[in-house]
């Protein structure tokens, strides 16, 4: 008599072998690929946003025209230090400014002959609402032509974009889940029809609906996990090959456990989801039998 395989029930052998489980895995793999890419993108998007927050979330830059006198520059710095919400003020020296301009002007240019504005790095207190418009007015009254660049509106725009992308990915997840569930339900119906003789026999000799559905659930679980693993592995590989889709300060790495976590989670969720969908579809059809 046939031996029981791991995770199998005694009624498994009533169903002749078929390729529907493999077909399910093959059809779920592309869904898993897209879902895993979405999940991985969310993780990297989070990294990216944290990096932007760290560098720009509390930062402003002030440009003081080159012709401004030293006493006025000192007055500007004093004003900034007294302004509520500002935690730190640092005037960049000529060397630092030159290094910042090198990517645009090159090393050959005689930068010290140019009217380079004096740059001041301003750090706001986290969460403080500095009134940039009021500050600009006061600065202009001390140093005509002073320009205050506030990066926070830029960051807010970036956050809005990230939020929209997250929503699109989450909607994509929902659509992929619905499609995978529908696909599993249809293939479960096909399996029940293919093995109709065995299903009716088991029903007539006393098997409960859940017992008949169980082998179909296990096959859907295995198909889902297999398809999910293939799709997630392909997504991971894609990401590692193309690298970080965002600015390259945090490249995607195989050593990042979160990426593996996403891949494993996609395979597990797809497997369990397929199992649930198969159970639902099977019980819904079996209940029609008398």
């Amino acid at each position: 008599m046939s031996a029981r395989a791991f995770g199998r029930t005694p009624l498994d052998l009533a169903f002749a072998r078929d390729q529907i489980g493999l077909l399910l895995a093959a059809m779920l793999a592309p869904i898993a690929y897209l879902a895993a890419l979405g999940g991985l993108t969310l993780v990297l998007l989070g990294d990216d946003e944290r990096a932007w927050n760290r560098s720009l979330g509390t930062s402003m830059t002030l440009q003081i025209p080159a012709e401004t006198s030293a006493p006025r520059i000192e007055m500007v710095l004093a004003l900034l230090r007294q302004t509520a919400g500002i935690a730190g003020v640092r005037a960049l020296d000529t060397g630092e400014t030159t290094r910042l301009l090198e990517p645009w002007l090159g090393t050959a240019a005689a930068i010290d002959t140019l009217p380079i504005p004096r740059l001041v790095d301003i750090q706001a207190e986290p969460g403080a609402a500095v009134d940039a418009a009021d500050l600009r007015q006061k600065l202009a009254s001390i140093a005509a032509g002073a320009q205050l660049d506030d990066h926070r509106p830029l960051l807010a725009g970036h956050r809005r974009s990230a939020t929209r992308l997250t929503i699109v990915i989450v909607i994509g997840f929902a659509a992929a889940a619905a499609f995978a569930a529908a696909l599993t339900a249809i293939l479960t119906g096909v399996r029940l029809a293919t093995h109709r003789g065995a299903v009716e026999l088991l029903h007539l000799i006393g098997a409960e609906d859940a017992a008949i559905a169980w082998p179909l659930q296990i096959d859907a679980l295995l198909g889902g996990v297999l398809g999910g693993a293939i799709g997630a592995a392909a997504a991971l590989l894609t990401l590692l090959i193309i690298g970080h889709p965002m600015p390259p300060d945090a490249p995607a790495s195989a050593a990042d456990w979160r990426l593996w976590g996403i891949a494993i989670a996609v395979a597990a969720v797809l497997g369990l989801g397929a199992m649930g969908a198969a159970r639902f579809a099977a019980l819904r059809r079996l209940v029609r039998m008398p």
Partner: protein, 230 residues
């Protein structure tokens, strides 16, 4: 205890003519009864209704003192496990060996493999197919396939055995062996209901029978009418 009680059972498919009409019957524990009639008389439909394979269109069916119409699906499955069925078309699973086919009711009952092997070997030897149970149905003769179907029906020692034309397309030796098996089962307490068009078989037996014509009980009948009618 009444094993089967049919009270005014009717069955029709769609707007077509009734296959069974106002059929009443009671089988007590240990009864052995034939249902006879020509093809289309309603014998198979009657067995299907008692086997819970079909729901009656009207009337009331009680199995083992349980009103089937009021029973939930788990209870109906439990009732089916007390019934052994020999189908007219056998319904053997071609991809399984004879042993695995016979073992199905025991697997559903949750027995372990050693017990299953023991029971299957015992019933296969009893029905003369002990040497053949490793083979698949396609490798067996028609008579052997029928014995496998009977073995599957009786392996779990059911309280009620339903057999739909169990001796058709078998040789005389197999027919005699299967009838002896049904008699022996009946003697140890199994209620037996056999549908057959073979009047010779009924005449050779001392058991009561009911005769169906166009879905209704009709004479001639034999046996204790007080037991066979409600």
């Amino acid at each position: 205890m009444a094993v089967v009680t049919l009270d005014g059972i009717g069955k029709s498919y769609g707007a077509g003519a009734a296959v069974l009409s106002e059929l009443s019957l009671t089988l007590e524990a240990g009864d052995f009864c034939f249902v006879t009639g020509a093809s289309g008389a309603g014998k198979t439909t009657l067995l299907n209704i008692v086997a819970l394979a079909e729901a009656p269109s009207s009337g009331r069916l009680t199995l083992f003192d349980t009103d089937v119409a009021a029973a939930d699906r788990k209870t109906r499955a439990a009732l089916r496990r007390r019934i052994g069925i020999v189908f007219d078309d056998l319904r053997l699973l071609d991809h399984l060996s004879a042993a695995d086919n016979i073992a199905l009711p025991l697997r559903i009952a949750g027995l372990r493999d050693p017990e299953i092997r023991e029971h299957v070997a015992e019933v296969a030897d009893w029905l003369g197919i002990g040497e053949r149970i490793a083979l698949r149905p396609a490798a067996l003769s028609p008579g052997e396939r029928r014995r496998v179907a009977v073995a599957r029906a009786v392996v779990s020692r059911p309280d009620l055995l339903l057999a739909d034309d169990p001796l058709s397309r078998v040789d005389d030796e197999t027919a005699a062996l299967l009838m002896r098996a049904f008699e022996q089962l009946n003697r140890v307490g199994t209620t037996v209901l056999i549908a057959t068009p073979d009047m010779d078989l009924v005449r050779q037996s001392h058991h009561p029978c009911i005769h169906l014509e166009w879905g209704r009980r009709a004479g001639p009948e034999r046996g204790s009418q007080s037991r066979l009618t409600s």
